[in-house]
Each structure stands twice: as C-alpha cells, then as structure tokens.
C-alpha cells in the first residue's frame, strides 16, 4: 500500500499531518559507536528515518594509483536498503544515490583534516535502513558522528537539516510526503562552531525573502541537532565515568 496524499498537509492551526508545528523537528535519536567491526560508527533515527553510518580508516588506499600525494581521499557511499522504501528499491546504486554520495562527501570534506594523512583513504558508508524524506541531511549528521567516533581529526562536527515550503508556508524538516506535496525544499549542512555552510541546495521555487527565511530556519534546526550529536558522542564516556566515580 502506498501512502495516500492527504487533502491538506497543514491545517488551519498550522499543525502538520504528523502533528508537528511549522518549525518543529521530528523526534531525533542518535547513538555513536554502535558497530564493533568498523573503526567508527553511528546510528540515527529522525522521525521514520533510520540510518546507519560506518567509517574505516585512514588506511592505505587501493588501487594505489588513485592515492593523492598531499592528502587523504574521502570515499563515500550512500546506499538505500531494498526494504527502505515502500516499493522495493533495486540494491544497485542508482543515479540518485551516486549523486547523494558525492554531495554528502563534499559536505563533509571541509570538516576533516585530510591533509594530515596523505596517500590514504577514509571510507564512509551510509546505509539507509528506512527512508522518510530528509535522508541526505540525516545521513550527513550521522556520518559526521561516525567520523568523530573513529578518532579522525575534525575541524568541527557537521549538522544538517532541511527547510521548505509546503502549501504556501515555510516548514522545518520535511517528511517524504511534505517533500513530494510541497513547493520547495532547502537542505543544508552547517558547521556550528565555525558558522560555515558546507551544503546548500534548493529544489523548487522560493522568492528571495522566503529563501533567506528557510535558510535561517534550517540553521536553527541544525543547532538543535548539533546539541543531540554532541550528547550522543559523549554519552558512552559519561556513563562510564558516572558509574565508577560514584
């Protein structure tokens, strides 16, 4: 059964179909260090999105002729599991997945000190287990955490969030339904301490004021996500400390 598009995505009281307000995030749950075999890993649930990220490296790069003499190479694979959407998705990498892999890689590259480890590769795998809109943003959020968990030196964490326009109103953190039924979507990734954008896309039409408003809204969303990221990263050390220092 495919989900049906409701008649109205936002009701007269500015309440969205899932019961959120206009500038409210979906409930977010993040955990770092969930996989034993990867060098670093993290898991995020954002609304119905469920995404796992794993990092290997830095390690010797194969094939060797691709190695960069002055920095490490970040390789990224964004992949959706066949069961992540309502109609089975072919597990082969699609055009969309290859594009997202590139976009995610480029939004994380500025945060990593790649120049510290010339001739090596850092391999990043983002596995979408369940998708419900905004997976590129959740993917970036969780990937940044996996990189930090792997002990890779970073300038800053990267938090990502989208804002958009649905039925004439600007909203934060669109679901799949809102993305498809809405007029525009602006995903962005942001480094909080350096106040730098590393990803900014727009799909659809917005006028200049709306665009600016959407960007500011998404940054506010990133701030909330960043807080949760930090907590998740510290969580396992904090619990150990609390337990033994009682």
């Amino acid at each position: 059964m495919l989900q049906k598009m409701p008649e109205k995505l936002i009701d007269e009281n500015n309440v969205r179909v899932d019961g959120r307000g206009l500038n409210e995030l979906r409930p977010v749950k993040i955990e770092a260090g969930v996989l034993g075999n990867a060098d670093g890993s993290a898991y995020i649930e954002q609304g119905k999105n469920k995404i796992l990220a794993a990092v290997y490296g830095p390690k010797e790069l194969h094939p060797k002729h691709l190695a960069l003499p002055d920095r490490a190479m970040l390789r990224c694979r964004y992949h959706m599991a066949p069961f992540s959407v309502q109609e089975r998705k072919s597990p082969a990498p699609s055009r969309r997945e290859m594009e997202l892999s590139k976009v995610i890689r480029e939004s994380l590259e500025p945060s990593i000190f790649l120049e510290y480890y010339p001739r090596t590769s850092i391999d990043l795998f983002i596995e979408v287990l369940q998708a419900d809109g905004g997976t590129r943003c959740a993917g970036i959020t969780v990937a940044a955490l996996a990189l930090a968990d792997a002990g890779i030196p970073m300038r800053d964490l990267v938090a990502a969030c989208a804002a958009g326009k649905v039925e004439g109103r600007l909203v934060l953190d669109l679901t799949d339904l809102e993305d498809k039924g809405g007029e525009a979507d602006v995903p962005l990734a942001w480094m909080p301490n350096l106040n730098a954008l590393t990803l900014l896309q727009m799909d659809g039409m917005l006028n200049r004021d709306e665009f600016e408003h959407a960007v500011n809204m998404a940054i506010e969303g990133c701030k909330q996500i960043y807080k949760l990221q930090k907590e998740a990263l510290k969580a396992k050390y904090v619990t150990v400390k609390e337990e033994v220092e009682e």
Binding site: P58, D149, M154, V240, V244
Partner: protein
C-alpha cells in the same frame, strides 16, 4: 593569566569545541584558527601554562621514530616483509635488518623467518610523510612472538596503562606475575605462567581502557585484581 579558557581541566570535549582564545598555543588534537583554539578529537582538555591540548579518547596510531611496536606480517616481499601496525601506512621490515648482513636471494628463505600472520615485536627506525615507516628487530627481546595473548587498545590510552613512571603497569605485572610488552601502536602482549594469570592481566588492561578518562583508577584496578585473585585458587602466588 587571565586569558579566556572555556573549559575546566580534564573536561570532556568533542571536535569543534572552542577551548581557548588569544595567546594560547595549540597542542595535541587541537588547532588554532583566527586566534581561537578548537578541539579536533573527542577527549579530555588540558591547560598547561599557555599550552592547550586534548588527550584523545579514541585515535589511531601514527608511527613515531624509536617507538616499540607490535605488528602483524601481512606480506612476504622479495627482500623484506610488509607489516601491519594498525596505522594508516603499512610498515617495511627489511631482510638485511633481520639477517644482520646483506640479503642473498638464492640462499635466504624469508618465509622461514617470518611468515604471513606472524606477530613481531619491533621498533620504528625511520618515518616521515613521504614514505611508510621502516622497522627493525635488531634488539634483544624483539622478533617473532611465540606465546602469550595480544590485547588491542586505543593507542592514546597506552600512557594511562603505563601510568605515572610506570606505576600502573608494574602493579599489574606484580599482581599477576605476567610479562607484559606494550607496543606503542596499541597492541599489548601478555604472557604469564598460567592462562588464569593472563586472563587477569587482560581484564585489568581492558578495565583501564574502559575507564581511562576517570580518576582514582590505579586503586580500582588493584582492588579488582585482588578480588578476582581471591576467588580463584590457581592464580600465581609468587607475585
């Protein structure tokens, strides 16, 4: 000094956290940009005079000349071995170094010296950004590991396992009666008279790794070993 710092000593920080401003010098696991010092890894921040550094809680090994390390042979080459040190770069051990003379391809059989999968204790003798680390086994106690157990920890926790002036490690050695060889790359060789002794030492090391960022650790580890020993009869008594 009244320059601004943003955390207390030994507080937990994550990458991107602003640690200090102005005249501070950025040390390990930090960087300075526009007069501001930020953390680059998750760890505990330290302020020492004008230096700011972070003791990382998770990192990988970066080779350093003179380091004693434990590596695994991954490839037998034409005139030496490739060794995995759990570092971003594979290390080279030359046949001539092991033989102590120049390598003669017709007579010397490298596989009979070290084969793929062998663990060896060695030292880093050369390393820079342009090529991988070079190893040497030319010292007593170095070479192939024939017995014992290997424990793997995050390399940044090695100093914690050794303790101040070796206090922690000598305590573990004394309490368990095990021989412990620490590789700076995070691999630790534990060999004792009985499996039980080794189990105890491994447990102690695991505990230190788990709780490296807490205080009063030596006492807790001693306590744990004594408690465990009390419950087991055949733990070595000549400690």
């Amino acid at each position: 000094m009244n320059l601004p710092t943003y955390y207390e000593g030994r507080q937990l920080v994550v990458p991107g956290d602003l640690l200090a401003e102005d005249d501070y010098v950025a040390g390990d696991n930090t960087y300075k940009d526009d007069g501001k010092v930020y953390a680059t890894r998750i760890g505990l921040v330290n302020y020492k005079d004008r230096n700011v550094f972070v003791v990382a809680l998770k990192a990988f090994y970066i080779p350093c000349v003179e380091d004693m390390v434990i590596g695994k042979v991954v490839e037998v080459g034409l005139s030496g071995w490739m060794v995995d040190l759990k570092a971003p770069y594979p290390a080279l051990l030359r046949a001539s170094d092991v033989l102590g003379r120049s390598f003669r391809p017709q007579e010397d059989d490298l596989v009979s010296i070290f084969d793929v999968g062998d663990l060896i204790i060695c030292k880093v003798v050369a390393y820079d950004r342009t090529r991988g680390p070079l190893l040497s086994v030319h010292e007593s106690g170095f070479g192939k590991i024939t017995r014992g157990q290997i424990v793997e920890v995050t390399p940044t926790k090695i100093p914690r396992i050794i303790g101040r002036k070796g206090s922690m490690i000598s305590m573990i050695k004394q309490e368990t009666g095990c021989h412990i060889t620490i590789g700076q790359n995070g691999l630790i060789l534990v060999s004792g008279k009985t499996l039980e002794d080794e189990r105890l030492a491994v447990m102690a090391i695991r505990k230190i790794e788990q709780e490296a960022h807490t205080s009063g650790l030596t006492d807790r580890v001693t306590e744990m070993i004594r408690k465990e020993k009390g419950g087991v009869e055949h733990a070595s008594k000549d400690a």
